[in-house]
């Protein structure tokens, strides 16, 4: 025979049990402040203002639902052999991130170290405008709405293959597109993050 108070207290106890282990212990135990590397720099570095805006674009468009940002360690999976990172990701890589964009799907490739793997701004802009230009056969949607079509010549215009847009029209990245690319370029997990904690 179960009494209501047994049920209520039992239910409360079981949920508090896991809440302590999975919420409180990590909240108090996982590194929450940047470390100082041997070269004196803080890690992880603070994002530039533009890159921080780009992170917001990444968040509001839902990039995280197809791209993870976590490199598996060398003993698990083939991420390092694929060139997706130079080491497995560590808790320190995510210090201060709100939210951490770890992701759970790889419909597209991992982006934890994309800034190292693909540093070219031009490439990222072309890829966002139409993924088929750089990655034929990709199922990533085009993000044409991050670009303006303007009449006449513009020095920031993308160089597109003949016939992509009408003659005399230039495709110019918006501030949102440029910010997103700045964020992608800033996504780097350097190999050596040995250092001391400030705490």
């Amino acid at each position: 025979m179960i009494e209501p108070r047994t049920l209520l207290l039992g239910a409360l106890a079981t949920v508090c049990f896991s809440l302590t282990g999975y919420v409180l212990v990590p909240a108090l135990g996982v590194e929450t402040t940047p470390i100082t590397l041997e070269n004196g720099r803080a890690y992880p570095p603070v994002l530039s203002e533009q890159a921080a805006q780009g992170r917001e674009v990444y968040r509001d468009l839902g990039c995280v639902y197809c791209h993870s940002q976590q490199v598996r360690p060398e003993t698990f999976g083939a991420d390092l052999d694929r060139g997706w990172g130079r080491r497995g990701s560590l808790p320190v890589d995510y210090v201060g991130q709100q939210p951490p964009l770890l992701g759970t799907m790889r419909t597209g490739p991992d982006l934890a170290d994309i800034g190292t793997r693909q540093p070219s701004e031009t490439w990222h802009l072309l890829h966002l405008y139409d993924p088929q230009l750089t990655s034929p056969g990709s199922n990533m949607p085009p993000f044409r709405f991050l670009f303006d079509e303007v009449e006449g010549h513009d020095e920031r215009a993308l160089t597109l293959p003949e016939g992509t847009v009408a003659n005399g029209v230039s495709v110019v990245p918006t501030a949102r597109a440029s910010a997103l690319v700045a964020y992608l370029q800033a996504l780097q997990q350097p190999p050596d993050v040995t250092g001391s904690s400030d705490e």
Partner: protein
């Protein structure tokens, strides 16, 4: 809904009238075999917990050897004997992961971004020059296969080992219509050492 607050026989739902009794529980015992299976399962759980507890160190990430111990070289060093097919094969893998996004799997390059490698004199020419481009990058105007280009190739020296650079070079020099022979680990090491203090990317003029 007032008719339902004070139900009378006429307002009773016929569906309720045909209902079975409210459910109750039987008192059959838990089968012995099931209890035994649960005991074995819980014992396994204890073993797994002990095996992978990582001493409950909250700083130690899953499947990482040790939190501060970062590997110094990539796990797979290809066989670097000159002309080894395995090296070219490894080079093709590396090319697919790191170079194909710009230069494309076809080696035809990407208009406005990256020049072709297939049929490029910069690839099939002096391997020392190509090695410098891969190690330190390239910036500014350059003419490839008769076409002018102006872009930026990133430096790969910091993120790829000599063996990996040699594998990629060997691949691009022998892939598609290129037929220029492979590059060895030692060749790459020599170039790296000769330009150890180089940090800026090369320009076409310097090359």
């Amino acid at each position: 809904m007032s008719d339902l607050d004070e139900p009378d026989i006429a307002a009773l739902h016929k569906a309720v009238l045909r209902e079975q009794k409210e459910p109750i529980e039987g008192r059959e015992p838990v089968p012995i075999w099931m209890g035994a299976v649960f005991v074995v399962l819980i014992a396994w759980g204890g073993w797994y917990l002990g095996r992978y507890d990582a001493r409950f160190d909250t700083q130690r990430a899953d499947m990482q050897p040790l939190v501060t111990e970062v590997k110094s070289s990539p796990p797979s060093e290809p066989n670097t004997a000159r002309g080894d097919a395995a090296m070219v094969e490894r080079g093709a893998e590396l090319f697919g992961g790191r170079c194909a996004a710009c230069h494309q799997a076809t080696g035809k390059g990407l208009p406005g971004v990256a020049p072709p490698l297939d049929g490029s004199e910069w690839v099939t020419g002096d391997p020392e020059r190509t090695t410098r481009v891969v190690l330190h990058g390239l910036t500014g105007p350059i003419e490839v296969a008769g076409q002018p280009w102006n872009g930026a190739m990133p430096a790969w020296g910091a993120t790829m080992t000599d063996a990996e650079v040699a594998a990629v070079l060997s691949y691009i020099r022998t892939a598609w219509s290129n037929d220029a022979g492979t590059v060895s680990l030692e060749d790459v090491k020599q170039v790296r050492d000769a330009h150890a203090d180089r940090s800026a990317p090369w320009t076409a003029d310097e090359l």
